[in-house]
């Protein structure tokens, strides 16, 4: 790892946000680089100072009591409501439901946008981190068990080296608040991330950011998203390979 890359990753390293492979590379670099180890020391000192317990304000007992009182009084109010107020409340609720479904539409669109952004951001972070994989292997029998202990459902892992898309390994990334498995392939100079998504994840069929393209596909029965800077023809070929029925 060169010094410039290391400098950019120092904070993510201290914040525990680097994948293990990059963290190890950064440690190896800092061992031999006086500048980076000095900066690491300074950042760590600042962090320890900010984490002194005296800097954290505790909720005063009166506030805790006030919240508890508010919680129980709203509970009692619901229980004690006379019939006509319940009817009125039902009207308000019905109105509220209409309003909240409009809100939901808006928030679905926003969530859509957020997830798309997450997928691109994760891909870019992986590219910046010099090693985009946590488990480096071209052997699907190594990659699949590695996922098994880390995500609810280990994805279908296949190597397409013969077709020009070699399996490079895998990692775990975040999409929204879900931890998802990511399969990493190489095609010539291109790095390809395949995000294997939980069933309800809603992503657009295709999206573009800064020269990178997201393409929706399926991997076995699971929805997946391919992110890469390949051209359209290669993307389509790779998507077909992924969604093709697996050979026994």
């Amino acid at each position: 790892m060169d010094c410039k890359t290391a400098q950019n990753l120092l904070e993510a390293y201290l914040d525990n946000e680097l994948d293990r492979a990059s963290a190890r590379e950064l440690e190896a670099h800092a061992d031999t680089c006086a500048d980076c180890s000095a900066r690491l020391g300074q950042l760590d000192e600042l962090r320890r100072a900010l984490r002194e317990p005296e800097l954290r304000y505790r909720a005063p007992p009166q506030l805790r009591e006030r919240v508890r009182a508010a919680a129980s009084s709203s509970g009692q109010a619901r229980a004690r409501m006379p019939a006509w107020t319940r009817l009125a409340a039902a009207c308000v609720l019905a109105f509220g439901a209409g309003a909240s479904s409009i809100y939901m539409l808006d928030s679905t669109r926003a969530a859509h946008e957020d997830l798309t952004h997450d997928v691109f951001a994760a891909h870019w972070r992986a590219l910046a981190a010099t090693s985009p994989v946590d488990v480096v292997s071209s052997d699907r029998h190594t990659v699949k068990p590695w996922f098994a202990g880390k995500v609810a459902q280990a994805p279908l892992v296949r190597d397409f080296a013969e077709q020009g898309f070699a399996l490079a390994g895998g990692r775990i990334d975040y999409v929204g608040s879900a931890r998802v498995p990511v399969l990493v392939y190489r095609h010539g100079q291109h790095l390809i991330d395949v995000f294997v998504l939980p069933i309800p994840a809603s992503l657009p069929n295709t999206a573009q950011r800064e020269g990178y393209t997201l393409t929706a596909t399926t991997l076995g029965a699971q929805p997946a998203a391919i992110v890469s800077d390949m051209d359209a023809a290669e993307r389509a070929r790779f998507a077909d390979l992924l969604s093709s029925p697996s050979a026994p």
Binding site: A49, Y57, L63, R66, V67, A70, A71, A111
Partner: protein, 174 residues
């Protein structure tokens, strides 16, 4: 449904209050903002769409704090007062008082208080509340990249501000 919010608020009441204190600067406003947030969260429990519940709760707390800050600024403008002074007064008394470790803490607290809001809140959530980048992004409603750059900028500003107290390291570091 509301039992969920009650439990969530009680469990993360310190986190909520701490965020409120650092954003609003005093006990009274922070407590009121957290109370507002609790009422709002109870009413909006059905908008919780899964995911990180602490981040959802802290996002509501933050909104209530920002609403208070905004009305405070409006009042200040009506009274033709400086807006800057109302947000985060730097308590120089704190800095002078105490010795050694407690003095250092007071200096750090004063400098953190003096940071612009966007860097202060990111640092409070990251260092004091120990939230991940993803959680901070959810609370602030910004992309993770923005969280990273705000943290980096906030840390750089703090380190610069703390410079004189760190003469031993910075003397040759700069």
């Amino acid at each position: 449904m509301n039992a969920f919010v009650d439990d969530l608020a009680q469990r993360h009441l310190d986190a909520a209050y701490n965020l409120g204190r650092w954003l609003l600067g005093n006990e009274h406003d922070a407590a009121d903002a957290v109370h507002d947030a609790f009422v709002r969260a109870s009413r909006a429990a059905d908008t919780y769409a899964g995911g990180n519940a602490r981040a959802w709760w802290l996002a509501i707390v933050r909104n209530c704090c920002l609403a208070r800050l905004a009305s405070r600024k409006r009042e200040a403008q009506q009274r033709h007062l400086s807006v800057v002074q109302t947000t985060a007064p730097l308590h120089t008394d704190d800095v002078e008082a105490g010795v050694d470790a407690s003095q250092r803490q007071a200096i750090i607290a004063a400098q953190l208080r003096a940071l612009p809001e966007e860097f202060r809140e990111a640092l409070v959530l990251r260092e004091i509340e120990d939230l991940s980048y993803r959680e901070i992004a959810d609370v602030l409603g910004v992309p993770i990249g923005t969280v990273m750059s705000r943290l980096a900028r906030g840390r750089a500003l703090l380190r610069r501000a703390l410079g004189p107290a760190h003469t031993q390291e910075t003397a040759h570091g700069l």
